[in-house]
């Protein structure tokens, strides 16, 4: 399969930080994969996603998305990626429809196409009847779903999801995961971070386990489980690679 994301020796050291948050990471992510970035707190997952989304600049190394080098084609890349941040990046006093019209228009969507796309996705995620309600009246699960829609209205080739199911009820979680699977079947490559290892094991086609800014292991969930002694699931693999030490991060 063809690589859609190529990362070469990518490093990031924040100003005044003693250690690298990401240390010479190289990784290829193939088109059509659901790629899970797993790791304990402070492993470098969010730094890697922030770099790939263009939110921060790398200290060294480079990467390309869909054969477009980020340093030369940032704006082109932004058109083909979608980002679903961990926090609800929505305007609380606007309605779901108003939020989605605004963020959709920032991707260049307009007119009836935008309106129809908003209605269609709200409907698919069970939110159409709440389209004209303000976001600050929504439950956590509803906000998560709107947060997801805001990142996928433009049918991105690559979708970055940072903890998309954190703090939501089972129904919302299922709705989100099922919808993401549909998106993936339609050709969207998904890069996803999560602390829910069982969810990742079920959802991801490929996984990389990061710790201390480096990739410790990568492969399919099954291959990683098989390769680890006495591992019955991804959690066992994770503990085996990263240890049992608490990783409180400030």
């Amino acid at each position: 399969m063809q690589s859609i994301i190529k990362i070469e020796s990518l490093s990031k050291k924040y100003k005044d930080a003693e250690m690298y948050s990401l240390n010479s990471v190289s990784l290829d992510i193939n088109q059509g994969q659901i790629f899970g970035l797993l790791g304990p707190n402070g492993a470098g997952k969010t730094t890697l996603i922030s770099l790939l989304c263009g939110l921060i600049k790398p200290t060294s190394g480079h990467f390309s998305i869909d054969d477009l080098n980020y340093s030369n084609h940032a704006s082109k890349i932004k058109k083909i990626i979608g980002v679903v941040p961990q926090e609800y990046a929505l305007y609380p006093t606007l309605t779901a429809r108003e939020n989605l019209h605004y963020f959709g228009s920032m991707y260049g969507l307009k007119g009836n196409h935008l309106k129809d796309k908003v209605i269609e996705t709200l409907d698919l995620l069970g939110l159409l009847k709440f389209a004209d309600k303000r976001i600050d009246t929504f439950s956590g699960g509803m906000k998560r779903r709107v947060n997801l829609i805001a990142g996928i209205l433009h049918n991105p080739k690559v979708l970055f999801l940072d903890e998309p199911t954190v703090g939501v009820d089972v129904h919302s979680k299922n709705a989100i995961i099922n919808y993401l699977k549909v998106l993936n079947q339609n050709g969207t490559t998904i890069i996803y971070t999560s602390h829910h290892l069982a969810e990742a094991e079920d959802f991801c086609t490929n996984i990389a386990i990061l710790d201390q800014g480096q990739i410790y292991a990568k492969g399919t969930p099954k291959a990683l489980i098989d390769a680890t002694e006495n591992a019955r699931n991804l959690e066992d693999v994770f503990i085996s690679l990263t240890g049992k030490e608490l990783r409180d991060d400030v």
Partner: protein
């Protein structure tokens, strides 16, 4: 790009529409401010004449001078003179205590024998002059007698410590003038007696008078009043208060995560800022027209003269727009640099107050110390205020306000560029 800007403007208006507190700050507070300040300033003298300021007069002289002082103070229509408290004549100690406790704003203490000593002193001086001119016969016995030494007399003034300097200065100057007039009158009277037993009449009316020449526009005298001065000043002040909601808006975008989302979208930060600039410029203009409308239509109904903008509305609108740009630039910079609303709101409010003070909204720039005058010239609020005065009071043309509005626009460009640069720099850490 135009559609993205349009959608940004729509979004900003929707956000404002749903923010009642923000709407009050943007539209109601400026109106309350301009009405309140103009009412206070315009009616300051009316209030004084309608409700005279009570002052204490301690008359230790009981002569013609103190009588004259009393009569002049009463005639001035500014003061009501109190000479007794609880039916007892006031002593200096009582007066001092009452004033220092803030019960009265002023006490005047006329010293003992002021009238007699003043007359004696004048007599001595006049006699001396007249004898030197050889107009009187020399009295040998008088020549032998040394003239009595008259010590200078002091009229004491006690002010309430809370009284403002400007009030103090005005009162001191009018009392000084009053006493000078009494002295002059006495000198004339003494000369009159010495020279001709009343058959020479001195004209005691002031020879030199002054007249204010009021500027004429279209053959009409334009008499500046408190409304013409206050409405532009406080309108500008209100326009600059847009710094607070705008900076809060930007800080909120950062804390809500919407700003981060926008950074990942194919939209430049410049478009986001253009959207905010258009929205808040429209708000500035609405504020401006609301305040002008209030000054024209409401002021006459609450006892104030109406704002006269005859032929000036277009140029005033231009000044308001460019002042708005300067305020927006400052708001964008503040919102970008501040991390929390707790930082941006108090800093925004305080800095607008400082800019207003430095810019001459409260105290005219010419009355400031030299160093502050130099600083004032670099304040955007001063450029805006001077441009408003140029248009409204000095009747200048568009060409003449170009330098000031250019400075306002340059301020917008510089502050916005710093904000964009700061934001970009922050993301490279």
């Amino acid at each position: 790009m135009m559609y993205k800007i349009w959608m940004s403007v729509v979004k900003e208006f929707l956000l404002l529409k749903r923010d009642l507190g923000g709407l009050i700050i943007l539209f109601i507070m400026p109106l309350v401010l301009v009405i309140t300040v103009t009412l206070i300033q315009d009616s300051a003298f009316k209030t004084i004449s309608d409700n005279k300021i009570p002052i204490l007069l301690v008359d230790n002289d009981n002569g013609s001078v103190s009588k004259s002082v009393f009569e002049n103070l009463e005639k001035s229509n500014l003061f009501s003179v109190i000479t007794q408290i609880d039916n007892k004549p006031i002593t200096e100690e009582v007066a001092k205590e009452a004033v220092y406790k803030g019960k009265y704003q002023l006490a005047i203490i006329i010293p003992q024998n002021l009238s007699i000593d003043l007359q004696t002193k004048i007599d001595q001086n006049v006699e001396n002059i007249v004898s030197k001119m050889g107009l009187t016969e020399t009295d040998t016995s008088a020549q032998a007698e040394k003239p009595k030494v008259i010590k200078e007399k002091e009229v004491k003034l006690y002010f309430d410590p809370a009284v403002q300097m400007s009030f103090k200065n005005a009162v001191m100057s009018s009392i000084d003038k009053m006493i000078s007039q009494i002295e002059t009158k006495s000198i004339y009277a003494t000369f009159q007696n010495q020279l001709g037993e009343g058959n020479i009449q001195f004209e005691q009316k002031s020879f030199i008078t002054f007249k204010e020449i009021i500027p004429r526009i279209n053959n009409k005298e334009v008499l500046p009043n408190s409304v013409q001065h206050n409405v532009p000043a406080w309108t500008l002040f209100a326009i600059f208060f847009i710094v607070i909601p705008l900076s809060i808006n930007i800080v909120k975008e950062k804390s809500q995560g919407t700003f981060v989302r926008l950074l990942t979208n194919p939209v430049s930060n410049l478009i986001v800022i253009i959207g905010k600039t258009i929205t808040y410029s429209i708000i500035c203009m609405i504020q401006f027209y609301m305040m002008v409308a209030v000054a024209i239509f409401l002021f006459p109904h609450i006892g104030l003269p109406p704002l006269n903008i005859e032929g000036h509305l277009f140029l005033m609108s231009i000044v308001a727009l460019f002042s708005g740009f300067a305020a927006i630039g400052f708001g964008i910079l503040l919102g970008t640099v501040a991390s929390t609303q707790e930082q941006s709101a108090p800093f925004g409010a305080t800095s607008v107050l400082i800019l207003a003070a430095v810019g001459g909204v409260w105290v005219p720039v010419f009355a400031m110390p030299k160093i502050m005058q130099i600083i004032a010239k670099s304040s955007p609020m001063n450029w805006g205020l001077e441009a408003f005065y140029d248009v409204l009071l000095r009747n200048v043309s568009f060409l003449e306000i170009i330098p000031k509005i250019s400075l306002l626009f340059l301020f917008f460009i510089i502050t916005t560029s710093i904000a964009l640069f700061y934001d970009k720099k922050k993301r490279t850490v």
